[in-house]
Each structure stands twice: as structure tokens, then as C-alpha cells.
Amino acid sequence: MYLHTMNLKLILMLKISQYGVHLTRLQFDEIELVRQWRNQDFVVDNMDYKKVITKEEQEKWFHSINNKYNYYFVINWENKKIGVINAKNYNPQLGFGEGGIFIGEKEHLNSIAPTFATLCLLNVVFLEIKLTNISRVKILNSNQKSIDYNKLLGYKLIPKSNDGISSYYELTLENYLKYGSKLNQAAKLTHNNNDEIQITGRPSDTNLEQINEYLKNQICQ
């Protein structure tokens, strides 16, 4: 019975795959793992919110983001859960308010997996389902590595967004096509030029209508 339930959940859950990375929509039974990752010093160091997150806070947070305006995915790489990537605060006019990623398994911090996960999600948002023309990220001013990483993707500093602690950076579709195409080209080369994006799952009230339409078309094909 348990196995049956688990399989059903896997079929229903929104899943994005490309370049060997599998992004699976965050489930309630994974939030404790995510909380433990998030409370590690090397993760907290790069976060705006520095306090230790309790189980109760984590549950409350999950219920606030488990909806069609927020997409939190667990990054699965080489059959292991290694971190979280998200696009949150969707607004029909402005697109997603903010994107983010953190790696909870330290040995994967400098691996290729975070880059593939980032490309995978941006490809869905900008190119495959075309949910928005703009992506934003908020980065601590002290996190130079993340600033450099995002600039290589084409993110540009939003003028006057610096509050003294962090700043917002914006990626337009135009810049993603310019910068991201090289990165996608190389990612494909490392996968024998044969790694199309795959988006699976059942339509759900926790998905935007555009996503449900896409999934319905996939099911029909």
C-alpha cells in the first residue's frame, strides 16, 4: 500500500528533467530535510534570514508556498537529493518576483549540478512554458560568488535596489537568450546533444493555468 501511494505521488508531482538533473516539486515529507539543510552554517551564511528555523516555522512556511504562485523544487542529482531551487511570488504582469537556489549537500556546492538545475528551471520559465519575460534574484552584497554566477547567466544589477545588505538583479528573456544559449549549448554538448527538457505531472490546483495546459497537452500526446 505504501509503495503504491509513493508511486502515485511520483506520477502526480510536477517534475522537470534536463541535463541529468531532476527537479521535483517540494513535498511535505521533504520539508524536514530542507530545514536541516537550510540551518547549516554554510547555507545560512549566504541567506538574508539568519535565524535558526524551527519545525513549526518550516511547516507554516510550506503551507504558505505550496500554491500556484510559488515553485520550490528539490534538486535530484545522481540519485541523491542535494538542494532546493525556486521561482516564487508569481505575478501575471511582472512574472516571478524572485528566484533562488541553495545546495544543502556540501560536496555538491562546486559541482556542475547547481548550474544544470538553474538552466533547467530558466529554460522552463523562459522558453518551454514561457511563463514570464523577466526573472529576478536577491543576493547578499557580500556573496560575490553568487553575484558572479548570476552575472554569467545574464542577470544585471537593478539600479537603486541595494538596501545596504542585499541587491536585486534582473534577467530579461533577451539577455537569457544571449547568455544562456552558450551555456545550454555546452550543457547539451556534455550530453551528446540529446537532452531535451521533460516536464511531467498531473494538472493540479497548485499549478498556474499555463502549466496545467502544458501538462494536459503532454498527457494527450
Binding site: 562546486n110 556542475i112 548550474t115 558572479d148 554566477y149 552558450k182 551555456l183 549549448q185 554538448l189
Partner: protein, 77 residues
Amino acid sequence: MTLEAFTKALEEEFEEITPGTISPDSNYREIEGWSSMHALIVIAFVDNHYDIILSAADLKQTSTIKDLYNIVQQRVG
């Protein structure tokens, strides 16, 4: 393309690097802010300029820009 031109062109691909920072003997993994994103840029750069596909193993066995250039020259030759 000479080694010097290869170095300069690659440096231009890494947009956030101050021009003149890297030389043929630079260990490219020690470039400030080096990440896997840079590795993908190297792979795309070599593919675009030489139609050669570098593998992760190729990158692993190189340290300097000169090492990269030599691998490319061997494949071209």
C-alpha cells in the same frame, strides 16, 4: 589562433574578469569566482571557434589556459 589570441578571446567570454587578468600560464580554476558556469563557457567557446567538443575529462586533465590550448591544437591537428 595563437595562444595569446586564445587567452584574450577566452578572457572576453568571462565578462566579469578585468581585462589582462589572465595569462596563458594562469590556472583557470583559480580565477576569482570560478564556477561550473565558467567550465560551460569554455566548452561553448571551443565548440564555437574550433568545432571541437571538450569533455569533463578534458577539463579535469588541464590546469592552465595553455593546457587547454594545447588540447585544442592536438585535436585540430
